[in-house]
């Protein structure tokens, strides 16, 4: 069954405390190449049947209203992934 993948990231200008904690932990494990980490969210919306334009529009709408908070987050990607 096809899925619609929605990726949400904290806005670039907003300090991401979780990403900051992760970037602090990486060198302790020997991963020294990374100067910054930002942590986002990935949602997978499963569709029974074909993904029509109307269903995709619904996913975009849901991404803006519920899945993200536009004050602190951006929807960076909405795409269809076939099973």
């Amino acid at each position: 069954m096809p899925r619609i993948v929605v990726d949400v990231m904290p806005k670039p200008e907003i300090l991401d405390p979780q990403g900051k904690a992760i970037v602090g932990a990486l060198p302790r494990l020997g991963f020294t190449a990374f100067s910054s980490v930002r942590q986002g969210k990935r949602f997978e919306l499963t569709v029974d049947g074909e993904v029509t334009e109307e269903i995709l529009a619904q996913a975009r709408d849901a991404a803006e209203t519920l899945l993200s908070n536009p004050v602190i987050e951006d929807v960076v990607n909405v795409e269809v992934v076939e099973a």
């Binding site: 904290p10 907003i14 300090l15 405390p17 904690a21 519920l66 899945l67 004050v71 602190i72």
Partner: protein
């Protein structure tokens, strides 16, 4: 709401206060979502202030005849997705949003998770993210009342410092600079942290209001500082009671 025995001096103070009888007729709704923790304490604070608390269930579709609403703290829906994000779409919330924006300007107080729900509802600007130090924090917190003209702060003096408990993980208040400047210019920063900023909130902001002053949200918990002997050790321990007496006096004043 189940009657609890009332303890301590605050009872006598509330019962003997001028206009106590009129106050008791005022009804203040307290909303419960799945995962709400502090609804009982909020209801108790309402009663100690001299009014009648009314239980409101998140799935309800009417506010009845309440004169004000408290959205208490807790972890509605386990803080899943974002704190307050799912609660914001509960059937009762659309009633609260309409009533808060209506001409009658229903007084609404959001405490902690309630504040998060109010920002997710866009009744208040900005948002809360994880504390800058990433830890859950619980402490007695000093706040300064920056605006005593809102529906919930009229019984305080402007600039008064009060101590109430604070307990949160996602308490860092953020908004863009333009919004912060506007909040400051319009006097809508209602409370500021004093001495120590417990979560990295922009400009030490602990609580804000909407433009009309009927909707107020803050991270710390005034409802846990309403009873002598059971609140913070610093100060009188009952310095949160003013929130609830303020709204009562506002309600009674409006219905004169």
């Amino acid at each position: 709401m189940t009657e609890l025995p009332l303890i301590g001096e605050a009872v006598a103070v509330a019962a003997n206060a001028p206009g106590a009888r009129k106050l008791a007729g005022a009804k203040i709704g307290v909303v419960t979502f799945p995962g709400t923790l502090d609804d009982r304490d909020a209801a108790r604070a309402v009663r100690l202030a001299g009014a009648t608390p009314v239980e409101l269930w998140h799935a309800g579709t009417t506010l009845g005849d309440v004169d004000a609403v408290v959205i208490p703290g807790g972890f509605s829906y386990g803080d899943y997705l974002r704190a307050g994000a799912i609660a914001r779409f509960a059937p009762l919330m659309s009633k609260i949003i309409d009533a808060a924006n209506s001409e009658a300007k229903l007084p609404v107080l959001g405490i902690c998770n309630g504040f998060q729900i109010l920002t997710e509802s866009h009744l208040l600007p900005g948002s809360m993210i994880k504390n800058d130090h990433l830890k859950f924090m619980c402490r007695d917190q000093v706040l300064r009342v920056e605006n005593n003209t809102t529906a919930w702060t009229g019984d305080y003096a402007a600039g008064q410092e009060i101590t109430v408990p604070l307990k949160n993980q996602d308490g860092q208040y953020i908004a863009d600079e333009k919004t912060l400047d506007a909040l400051e210019a319009e006097g809508r920063v209602v409370f500021r942290y004093v001495g120590f900023n417990p979560n990295g909130s922009r400009r030490d902001i602990a609580g804000i209001s909407n433009a009309a002053g009927n909707v107020v949200g803050l991270m710390p918990h005034p409802e846990h500082a309403v009873e002598a002997g059971f609140g913070p050790e610093l100060g009188s321990g009952t310095e949160g009671l003013g929130f609830f007496t303020s709204v009562l006096n506002k309600i009674v004043g409006d219905n004169k």
